[in-house]
Symmetry: C2
Subunit: 489 residues, 2 copies
């Protein structure tokens, strides 16, 4: 697009939306980056205040042929919320209404409401919104819907998609639509609702949603178990699945992960967490860990607790006696993501999924990859649904490490697909996974997706260049200096 055309488009945008449009020096500092930390430069940043403005932006973007990137908090890890083709960024965070229908067990929410605020509102009425991406304090429901966000409770409670009755918003061309309805059953017409969910902002703009709530669990019980090896921890996790225990959460942390998390805690002074010390103290090296949470009706949690403790009788573990102790057990898991930066200044976080029959082979492969690439491969994840986060840590300034990371991620993706797994379980494709889409899907599948994209977005306005065009993540500089709201540096 020529400079003149770009200017004319922005002038029209400003005439239509006034002070909602930020450009030039008034662009917010994080306008061009999401949590993938790639740096791009939008020509305008639009903080819409109502749905009518969304329609106006879409009409203008179509008229002037301007790429449009949708954005909530920007906590996406794949670059799907970063304006890789510049153009305009549409920030929906102001649409943050939340209304709980306590009789129907539904939440009516704006796209900008955060996942945590939705749950807080629901819990006040005795209800519960289960999906819990680890970004939940900041991430908006619009972003959760765009990526079909998962989280720690997936095996028991499913993912975002499992809690959506209706979506309202706009087609890429600007027409207002509703998919589904605020009802428990709906079988009219093609289900575009679920096509929008997980489409990463490429097929429509979600402005509001009606979500399904569950009765708030009466009780929860949190446990932390230590294991002498990663394999022992995974075998223990599989035994839980075979016993049909269905924990709400069963987080695996491998020894590489636990080692750096404990080291980071030690840097801050002597370990003060009594329960954590009790579990890890018995191990000469860092143990592998399983953090397990049972929840539900009190009578069931009591029975399942007994069952779990029998099953794990030979392992070293603690159980929280109250909420405060449960929170203290979570501290170790919450340290993991940031602690890994001890091993490299740059992270590839690969949220792969493998079948339960391949857990041990995946683990073996992360260690082979460590040897093969010379990079740390700390791995943690959701051991009840097979969604493991394998990380490749490297220093971006070191060209040899960059090449090793590139080779490593390719090998990992090939291995995962060989094992019958998924290249992404909850982050989506965005830019980060785009080189691997063809490993996961055959030509006919990709052509069908592209045909749908062309049908709904004929001018290719929404998030162009993502998902289908391979992007070399490891070749692009990334900005870890800009502080994002969720950073715990």
């Amino acid at each position: 697009m020529s400079e003149k055309k770009r200017g004319a488009a922005i002038a029209a945008l400003k005439r239509a939306l006034g002070k909602a449009v930020l450009t030039g020096d008034s662009l917010p500092p994080r306008a061009g980056i999401d949590n993938a930390r790639l740096v791009f430069h939008p020509s305008a940043y639009i903080r819409v205040e109502n749905e009518e403005q969304v329609a106006k932006v879409l009409l203008l973007a179509n008229k002037h042929g301007v790429p449009l990137t949708l954005r909530g908090a920007g906590s996406a890890t794949t670059g799907s919320a970063s304006p890789s083709e510049n153009g305009w960024v549409l920030d929906l965070t102001a649409l943050d209404s939340i209304r709980i229908d306590a009789t129907a067990g539904m939440a009516h929410v704006g796209a900008g409401a955060t996942t945590e605020n939705i749950n807080i509102a629901a819990e006040k009425e005795g209800w519960f919104y289960p999906p819990d991406p680890s970004s939940k304090k900041h991430s908006t429901i619009g972003g959760n819907l765009a990526t079909n966000a998962g989280g720690l409770r997936g095996a028991k409670y499913g993912v975002t998609r499992d809690y959506v009755f209706a979506l309202e918003g706009f087609l890429p061309t600007g027409e207002r639509v509703r998919w589904g309805a605020p009802l428990r059953k709906f079988a009219s017409g093609f289900n575009v609702r679920d096509l929008w969910i997980g489409s990463e902002g490429a097929l429509g703009v979600i402005t509001s949603a009606t979500l399904k709530l569950l009765p708030k669990p009466e009780a929860r019980q949190t446990f932390l178990f230590g294991f002498t090896s990663d394999a022992q921890a995974l075998r223990a996790a599989i035994s839980v699945m075979k016993a049909r225990l269905v924990p709400a959460i069963m987080e695996f942390m491998d020894r590489q992960t636990v080692d750096c998390a404990l080291r980071r805690r030690r840097e801050k002074g002597p370990e003060t967490n009594r329960l954590l010390k009790k579990v890890t103290g018995a191990f000469k090296k860092a143990p592998a860990l399983l953090l397990i949470e049972l929840d539900g009706r009190a009578a069931v949690v009591r029975e399942d607790r007994k069952h779990l403790l029998e099953l794990f009788a030979k392992f070293h573990g603690v159980s929280a006696r109250d909420e405060a102790e449960a929170e203290s057990l979570w501290e170790i898991r919450r340290t993991c993501s940031q602690a890994m930066f001890q091993m490299g200044d740059t992270k590839l976080n690969e949220d792969i999924v493998v079948p339960i029959s391949s857990y041990l082979e995946l683990l073996r492969y992360t260690l082979e990859l460590k040897k093969e690439t010379g990079l740390a491969t700390p791995t943690f994840g959701h051991a009840a649904d097979g969604n493991f986060h394998v990380h490749l840590m490297y220093n971006h300034g070191d060209p040899a490490q960059c090449r090793a990371a590139e080779r490593g991620v390719k090998l990992l993706m090939e291995k995962v697909v060989d094992l019958g797994g998924a290249i992404t379980g909850e982050h989506g494709i965005g830019l980060a996974k785009s080189p691997f889409l063809k490993l996961q899907h055959n030509k006919a599948e990709i052509e069908a997706m592209l045909a749908i994209k062309r049908a709904l977005d004929p001018k290719d306005i929404l998030n162009p260049g993502k998902m289908f065009t391979p992007f070399a993540m490891w070749k692009h500089p990334r900005d870890y200096a800009t502080v994002m709201p969720w950073d715990k540096h």
Copy 2:
């Protein structure tokens, strides 16, 4: 299509598939009708025996421009499995494999497996497939997926869509695809899986699926309660929802329904069902009924039973002491569908959905409609999810009654949409609901659906003329003489 072209296409089909192709006198007697009982005449009926044959049929249908109607058992109630544009019928019932993965809690099934057989296989391994359309003994999972079948357990357990990890099959153009994966999380690419589910055979051919299973409930408890009025029964149902009891099943039967069900039972001789007599005996006229089933962990069912009996202390009810008694309580519900034919030889079964706040208004309206049309409007349905089956009973030979039925169904659909409801909760659109699609969806929504259809099925081969082209159900003769496998005449 000319007779010559039609003949050439069939000759090519026979060359490719041999004895799988039935034509002329060898057409099966039910080739042209599904449970909507509309009569059409396909030019060929194809019993495919493997997936390769499906691909061949699709390629030939595209080459020769022949409409293709997919079919399982044919228990669809909307005409979606009947060949309204003649052409070829593709019968997938032979693809009936079932394999349970007991560790992963998944069922790998062919499209032709019946819902009941899947559940029998799952239960052998201690697992449970919750969706239970009332046709489950006969209906195939392929049909359940095509219509996103619901059933009685919707409020607690959701619908078919909620239990699907992966679909395999063919694009309308014949290319083989898989959507989703046999994994608990999958976030790669656009979610065409859920677009296929509920698309009524118009966007692709499902040949197999991987389904999610739940641990089999330890216990269930069945209750039957009688109420002096329909409104009292519905208010009681709402009080259950407000108490967050979440029963597996809460079936409402209005007095019109119960009246004809009891009359039909009396025709067969004196009532022998002790529990049913106990509930209905106290009422001078037929009572309205709620059939309630609690299920889950034994400790929870015990607690919820106590809670429910407290809540319903003032009503007249019985609870089953064992499985045999539970089955005997179900007898009344199972009589309802057929018993209604006392009120007319032809039925419009409208599976509408309304919000919980509109239950009483819907009920009032069914009685207004009865008065307005002079037709019986017996109503039963799933009172925990708002999915009520409102029936209009009429005699097809009586032109005045046909006009009244037509007027009645239009008025009902308008009312339902006014109440914020859905014109269909579990049957889908097919031919029966096609005149009302525009009540439910705006122009932009329908255009988007059609754009997707054109993108995936450019030659309009799969189920053409359904859903989007208004069809006047009440003007077409229907065949109730041909006995379908589920008929209990």
